[in-house]
């Protein structure tokens, strides 16, 4: 089946390349969710003199208003108006008559213009104005049957709630349903897109992030695990972290391509330890990317300088990239492709994510999403043979009952390094333990470690006299 590209990057990915040609698509969603814009963007992206688009407005939004606001977006091309994109307004038919008459008018307009693309905005109003549900079903059937005889891909727009979709005649009759949502999460609006139905085609299921910018609609597909099989193979090669005393706890270092969780209480040195792993690697010829949400690049530069690293020089040499995103507006699906772009641009061999606690906050709408996201991220890194460090905040201090926000994550990662404060003879000291090292033997000793400007991070001997 020939596919019509929407020419909206993320959406084509979700639709496995585009919409099947000639399908009838219901774009459903509450007012303000971006339905009109999505349909208009697809038709402006595709309409030509040979493949015209017919945009029919009914009575939910006057044509004047729709055009006035749509033309503010970059996809709008005034030169296509009247030639490649034809607007028709059937509001007068609807103001004076019923839904059946309007469907007849739509059918006539389609036969007259013979468009490759049709938009009816809003279509739901026709069902509201129909004399009865049975009469609406009949007219819906007539319209879909007429469209089926033509090579026309149609978008019927409607203000439907999710619950309407299961019961409406429109849902049954159309070939595809794309639902747009706009939910309030805390103080943020979260816009999303979901394919609820697509006949004769595969698609990426679930909720995908939708953003509206002056370019129009942008879609960020839900970040998922790469297709199996994961190409990563365990080589047995050990990578030196360059942190004194740490590598020997794993033998000679951590296995290449593995993911390590560095968990610890606030102030235990998760960022400093991870920074040393990355910068030592960059100095030794392994390019690395530092993905941060808490400390911005200037703060990290300051920290690194204190330990004798020259971040600017490493960046100029193409061995290091610092990629900072504010955790306040973080959207994981939007962030993932940008992060991977940075990583692939540098051919990074090491990556630090500081911290995954910020992913958890960003995915608060869905607990499973957090684990699925981190799992997908780890698998992507493995595919690229990247050795990664993920930091995570641990909430319980001075105890053995280890309460981590990264709980559950330890199953996903290969290695777990735990940083803690302990009380030894009325003094608080820092200790490090390797809790897990998948695929390699490791020490289980509780080691004291120190952080100093001269020596950096140094893992010392097992701590004696430890009271827990």
């Amino acid at each position: 089946m020939r596919r019509i590209s929407t020419r909206i990057e993320g959406l084509d990915h979700i639709l496995a390349g585009g919409l099947p040609e000639g399908c009838v698509v219901l774009i459903a969603g509450v007012p303000g969710s971006g339905k009109t814009m999505l349909a208009n963007q697809i038709v402006f992206n595709n309409a030509t003199l040979e493949n015209k688009a017919l945009v029919i407005t009914t009575i939910s939004e006057p044509l004047a208003k729709m055009v006035r606001f749509t033309q503010e977006y970059a996809f709008f091309d005034v030169n296509k108006i009247g030639s490649a994109v034809i607007y028709e307004d059937i509001s007068s038919d609807l103001l004076n008559q019923n839904g059946e008459t309007a469907v007849e008018r739509i059918t006539k307009l389609v036969q007259k213009h013979n468009p490759a693309f049709l938009v009816v905005d809003s279509f739901k109003i026709l069902s509201d104005l129909a004399e009865s549900p049975a009469s609406f079903r009949r007219m819906m059937y007539k319209l879909v049957a007429t469209l089926a005889t033509l090579p026309c891909t149609a978008f019927l727009i409607g203000e439907y709630e999710t619950s309407d979709l299961n019961t409406s005649a429109e849902f049954v009759a159309v070939d595809a349903v794309i639902e747009l949502r706009n939910q309030l999460l805390g103080l943020r609006d979260y816009r999303s897109l979901r394919v609820a139905k697509l006949r004769g085609s595969d698609y990426v299921s679930g909720e995908h992030t939708l953003c509206i910018t002056n370019q129009g609609v942008m879609i960020f597909p839900r970040f998922v695990t790469p297709p199996c099989p994961v190409t990563y193979t365990v080589t047995g090669e050990q990578v030196a972290t360059g942190i004194k005393g740490l590598d020997e706890l794993f033998g000679k270092g951590i296995l290449r391509g593995t993911a390590t969780l560095v968990a610890g209480e606030p102030g235990t040195g998760k960022t400093v330890t991870s920074l040393h792993f990355l910068l030592n690697g960059a100095q030794a010829g392994e390019p690395g990317v530092y993905i941060s949400f808490q400390e911005d690049p200037s703060q990290l530069k300051h920290i690194a300088n204190n330990f004798g690293f020259d971040i600017d020089e490493l960046q100029q040499q193409g061995m290091l990239r610092m990629f900072y995103t504010s955790p306040v507006e973080l959207n994981v699906d939007q962030h993932a492709p940008l992060m991977l772009r940075e990583i692939e641009a540098l051919n990074a061999q090491r990556v630090v994510i500081d911290s995954i606690t910020d992913f958890q906050a960003s995915t608060s709408r869905d607990t499973d999403r957090y684990f699925n996201y981190v799992y997908a991220l780890v698998q992507h890194f493995k595919n690229l043979s990247i050795t990664s460090f993920f930091t995570a905040e641990m909430s319980e201090m001075f105890g053995t009952g280890i309460m981590m926000t990264g709980v559950g994550i330890s199953h996903i990662v290969d290695n777990v390094i735990l940083l803690r404060y302990v009380e030894v003879e009325q003094l608080v000291r820092r200790v490090l333990t390797v809790l897990k090292a998948r695929g390699s033997a490791h020490s289980t000793q509780v080691r004291e470690y120190t952080i100093s400007e001269r020596g950096g991070v140094c893992v010392g001997k097992p701590l004696s006299g430890l009271r827990v």
């Binding site: 006057p62 044509l63 004047a64 208003k65 055009v67 006035r68 033309q71 005034v78 030169n79 108006i81 009247g82 034809i86 607007y87 028709e88 307004d89 007068s92």
Partner: protein, 125 residues
């Protein structure tokens, strides 16, 4: 105003939106003789039969859009002399000028500016 104008001057308005037609009627009826056309072909037809002194055109007209209508008006010696004021919600001044439009105003209606532009074009005629 120009010497060859009818009294009162005649305006032909190509506008598909009945609400806008009502508004224009209220704004223009006292000073002008106004005729309306809701589609492109009707504008062309009335431009010959009504012989307006000025044509006010929306771009988004059914059958033939405002650009096509203007182009045909300007190509026809019978109507080429009639000034055309584009009055649209579409930001398309450049293309409107290319097809021979004499002036362009963006909707919504700003009464003072609108009347001033009409007066200016009628004087030119």
């Amino acid at each position: 105003m120009g010497a060859n104008l009818k009294s009162p001057p005649r305006l032909l308005i190509g506008e598909r939106d009945p609400f806008m037609r009502d508004l224009l009627q209220r704004v223009l009826a006292e000073q002008f003789e106004v005729e309306y056309a809701a589609s492109g072909p009707v504008v062309l037809e009335k431009a010959k039969s009504f012989q307006p002194d000025l044509i006010i055109l929306e771009i988004l007209l059914p059958e033939l859009d405002g650009f096509q209508v203007c182009q045909q008006l300007k190509d026809n010696p019978q109507t080429a002399h009639i000034p055309v004021l584009f009055f649209s919600m579409l930001l398309a001044e450049h293309r409107a000028t290319q097809v021979g439009g004499d002036a362009f105003l963006i909707k919504p209606l700003r009464k003072e500016q609108f009347l001033k532009e009409i007066e200016k074009l009628l004087k030119k005629n």
